[in-house]
C-alpha cells in the first residue's frame, strides 16, 4: 500500500511550523522552569518532534491518542490549545486538567487525547480498550498509542500487543525509540534491539521508520492508518529518534557523550527541513520570518493566559475523585 502525502509547499510549511512550534514552546518551558513557575518533572521532546507531527498528520478528529509523560509535543500536534496546556503546567485552574495533572498528565476530551501517562507502558492496555470500544461505537476510528522503547521491557507492552493482535483491534502503536530508557542504553536493556521485530512476533504488521525525518514519518503513519482502517487490525511503527535534551531537568547525562548528542543534532528534523525547503524554493525568508513571528505571538499569548490564570480553590481538592456522572466522551 502506498500512502499519498500532499507534498506541496503549504503542507511542508505546516509540518515545519508545527515542529518549530513545539521546539519553541519547550524552550519557553525551560525558561519558566528556571524561573520556578513550572515545577515537578519536566520532560522535553527536543529532537523527537518529527514523530508526533508526522503521526498526527494521518489522524482525524474521530481517532484517539494516548501519550507518554514526554507529551507536550504530542499534545500540541494533536491540537491541544497552547494556553490551557501551559496553564496546566503552571498549576492553574484554567489548565486542561484544572492543575491536577501537570506536565506529565495532559488530557483533552474534546480532542480524544487520553492523557500523558507516567507509568511506563501504562497507556498501552488503555489503547487496547479504547480500540475495543471504538470498534463497536465508532467504526473506522484508530487509536494511536505513543510509548518509548523503554516500555517494551514491561509486561504491559507484551500483553497489549497480544490482545490487539488476537482481537484485531484498530491500534496504531507508535514506539518512539530514542535509544535510552532514562539513562539505560537500548543494548543494555533489550536482547532484541530492533523493536519492530517484537511486534512482528505478535504477527502485527510493522515498519521501522527514520523518526528524524517528518516526511518519512508522515508517510509511514498514513500507510499504517490506511492499513488499520482497511483491515481493522493493529499496526506498529518503530520510530528511530533521539532526544537532544536531558531525560528531565534532573539529569547530568553521564550515560552518553557530548559527541553523540552533537552527532544527532546534525540530523535535527527542524533544521534539515528548513534547509531543504529553502534550497528547493519551498520557503522564502519572508515566510520563515512570518512563521517565527506567528509562533512567538502564540507563545506570548499562551504565557499571558497561563500567568493570568487563577488557582483552583483548595475547597475543590477532592472534586472529581468520585464522579457524579459519566462525562460523555465525544469526537470533536
Amino acid at each position: 500500500m502506498t500512502a499519498k502525502i500532499p507534498l506541496e509547499r503549504g503542507h511542508l510549511q505546516e509540518i515545519y511550523r508545527q515542529m518549530l512550534r513545539i521546539r519553541r514552546f519547550e524552550a519557553k518551558c525551560v525558561e519558566l522552569y528556571q524561573a520556578q513557575k513550572i515545577r515537578g518533572f519536566l520532560h522535553l521532546y527536543d529532537g523527537e518532534e518529527a514523530v508526533a507531527v508526522g503521526v498526527m498528520q494521518a489522524l482525524e478528529p474521530r481517532d484517539a491518542v494516548l501519550a507518554t509523560y514526554r507529551e507536550h509535543g504530542q499534545a500540541l500536534a494533536r491540537g491541544v490549545p497552547m494556553g490551557p496546556l501551559l496553564a496546566e503546567m503552571l498549576g492553574k485552574a484554567e489548565g486542561v486538567c484544572r492543575g491536577r495533572g501537570g506536565s506529565m498528565h495532559i488530557f483533552d476530551r474534546e480532542r480524544r487525547f487520553f492523557g500523558g501517562n507516567a507509568i511506563v507502558g501504562g497507556g498501552l492496555p488503555l489503547a487496547v480498550g479504547i480500540a475495543m470500544a471504538d470498534k463497536r461505537l465508532r467504526p473506522g476510528a484508530v487509536t494511536a498509542c505513543f510509548f518509548g522503547e523503554g516500555a517494551v521491557a514491561e509486561g504491559a507492552f507484551h500483553e497489549s500487543m497480544n490482545l490487539a493482535a488476537i482481537w484485531q483491534l484498530p491500534v496504531l502503536f507508535v514506539c518512539e525509540n530514542n535509544l535510552y530508557a532514562m539513562g539505560v542504553p537500548l543494548e543494555d536493556a533489550e536482547s532484541q534491539t530492533d523493536i519492530y521485530r517484537k511486534a512482528d512476533a505478535y504477527r502485527i504488521p510493522t515498519m521501522q521508520v527514520n523518526g528524524m525525518e517528518p516526511v518519512k514519518m508522515e508517510f509511514a503513519a498514513r500507510t499504517a492508518v490506511e492499513h488499520i482502517r482497511a483491515h481493522g487490525g493493529p499496526y506498529f511503527l518503530e520510530c528511530r529518534t533521539y532526544r537532544f535534551r536531558a531525560h528531565s531537568m534532573f539529569d547530568t547525562q553521564a550515560y552518553r557523550t557530548r559527541d553523540e548528542i552533537e552527532g544527532w543534532k546534525q540530523r535535527d528534523p527542524i533544521e534539515r527541513l528548513r534547509a531543504w525547503m529553502q534550497d528547493n524554493h519551498q520557503l522564502t525568508a519572508d515566510e520563515a520570518a512570518r512563521i517565527d513571528a506567528d509562533i512567538a505571538a502564540e507563545i506570548a499569548a499562551a504565557v499571558a493566559f497561563a500567568e493570568a490564570g487563577t488557582l483552583e480553590p483548595v475547597a475543590d481538592l477532592e472534586r472529581f475523585v468520585i464522579m457524579e456522572s459519566v462525562v460523555q466522551e465525544s469526537p470533536r
Binding site: F114, G115, G122, P125, L126, A133, L137, V321, S325
Partner: protein
C-alpha cells in the same frame, strides 16, 4: 399478595445479575479468564457465552494487567465492561492499572473522563486453596481514593449489587467470597434493587455490635445466635460497602450498644478493621463502654491443611469469645 421467596445460591444470584446487566445495556460485556467456554472458574458465567455470544462474553488470555487496562480503556470510550479476575490474589498483577489509571484518571484529568468499570473478583479462604488463592485483599483496595469497593455477603446483595455498580460512574470492585458461592438464601421477589451506599443491620441487638462483611457475615450471625443463647443480645452490622464506609451507620450502632467487635478476614495489621477501629476511637470514644475488639485472620499466608486454614481464619468461636469478653468482663 406477596410472592413467595425464591431460594437460590449466591453463585446463581451472581449469574442472574450478570445476565440482567447484559440484557439491560448493550454496552455491557464480560471479559476475563475462562468466563466463556469454561463457564467461569467458579462457574458464575456458565451458559452466558451460549446466550450472548463471544463479543459479550469474552474469554481472555492470562493477562490480568492487560485485560484490566483494556476494561478501563473500554469504559473511558463508552462501553460498560465487567472484568472478572479469578481471585483477588491475581488482581495484584492488575493493581497498577486499577490504582494508577482507573482510580486516578478522573481526578488527574480534572474531571474530563470517568471510568464506569466493574471488576468482579473472588476473595477469601476456607476451601483449602492455599496461600495464592485464599487471601482477602479487599481492605487494600478500600484504601484507594477513586474506587468503590463492595462485598456482598447475602444472596440478595449478590443478586442486585451489580446493577447498582454498573449504574455508578466510578470504578467499582465487587469481592465475591469463594465460600459463599454455594450458600443458599431467600430472595424476596419484591426487592428489585439495592443501594451501594449503606451498611445494613442483619440482626438487631442491644449489647454489642459485631461489624463485618462478606463470608464473616454468616459467621457473625451464627456467633450472635450462640451469644443470644448465653443471654447476650448482639447486633450484626453488615458493612456491604467497604469504600466509602457508611460511618453514620457504624456510629449509630456502636453508640447504641456501646461495644464493638470488628470481624475482618484480612490480616490484622493495617486492615480495614484497623481503620474502623481508629475512626471509632476518634468519633465514638466517649460512647464506648469497652475497648474495640478485632477478629481477623492470623498473620500467615493462608495454609492448605484444613486444621491450619481453620486456625488462620476468623471462626464463630473467636467472634463469640471476643463479644462475650466485652459484655461480661472477668
Amino acid at each position: 399478595m406477596t410472592a413467595a421467596p425464591l431460594r437460590m445460591t449466591y453463585r446463581e444470584a451472581c449469574r442472574q445479575a450478570i445476565r440482567d446487566a447484559l440484557l439491560a445495556d448493550p454496552r455491557s460485556f464480560v471479559m476475563g479468564e475462562d468466563v466463556g467456554k469454561y463457564g467461569g472458574c467458579y462457574a458464575v458465567t456458565k451458559g452466558l457465552l451460549e446466550e450472548f455470544g463471544p463479543e459479550r462474553i469474552l474469554d481472555t488470555p492470562l493477562a490480568e494487567l492487560g485485560i484490566t487496562g483494556a476494561g478501563i480503556g473500554a469504559a473511558l470510550a463508552g462501553l460498560r465492561p465487567i472484568v472478572e479476575i479469578m481471585t483477588c490474589n491475581f488482581s495484584l498483577l492488575a493493581l497498577d492499572q486499577i490504582l494508577n489509571n482507573a482510580a486516578t484518571i478522573p481526578h488527574m484529568s480534572g474531571g474530563q473522563f470517568a471510568v464506569p468499570l466493574v471488576i468482579r473478583m473472588a476473595t477469601g479462604g476456607g476451601r483449602q486453596l492455599a496461600a495464592q488463592h485464599s487471601h482477602s485483599l479487599e481492605g487494600w483496595y478500600a484504601h484507594i481514593p477513586g474506587l468503590k469497593v463492595l462485598a456482598p455477603g447475602t444472596v440478595e446483595d449478590a443478586r442486585h449489587m451489580l446493577a447498582a455498580a454498573l449504574a455508578d460512574p466510578n470504578p467499582v470492585l465487587i469481592f465475591e467470597h469463594i465460600v459463599l458461592y454455594n450458600a443458599e438464601g431467600d430472595l424476596d421477589p419484591a426487592v428489585t434493587a439495592v443501594d451501594i451506599e449503606h451498611a445494613r443491620i442483619r440482626r438487631p441487638g442491644r449489647d454489642v455490635s459485631i461489624i463485618t462483611y462478606g463470608n464473616s457475615l454468616p459467621k457473625s450471625l451464627a456467633a450472635a445466635e450462640a451469644l443470644a443463647a448465653e443471654g447476650i443480645p448482639a447486633e450484626v452490622l453488615d458493612l456491604r460497602v467497604l469504600r466509602p464506609l457508611d460511618m453514620p451507620a457504624i456510629l449509630e450502632s456502636v453508640r447504641r450498644t456501646r461495644r464493638a467487635v470488628l470481624v475482618d478476614e484480612g490480616w490484622r495489621s493495617g486492615s480495614l478493621s484497623a481503620e474502623i477501629a481508629a475512626r471509632l476511637a476518634d468519633e465514638a470514644f466517649f460512647d464506648l463502654d469497652a475497648p474495640v475488639r478485632r477478629v481477623c485472620s492470623a498473620e500467615v499466608p493462608v495454609p492448605y491443611a484444613a486444621h491450619l486454614e481453620e486456625a488462620a481464619l476468623p471462626q464463630v468461636a473467636d467472634i463469640v469469645a471476643a463479644a462475650r469478653e466485652l459484655v461480661k468482663p472477668r
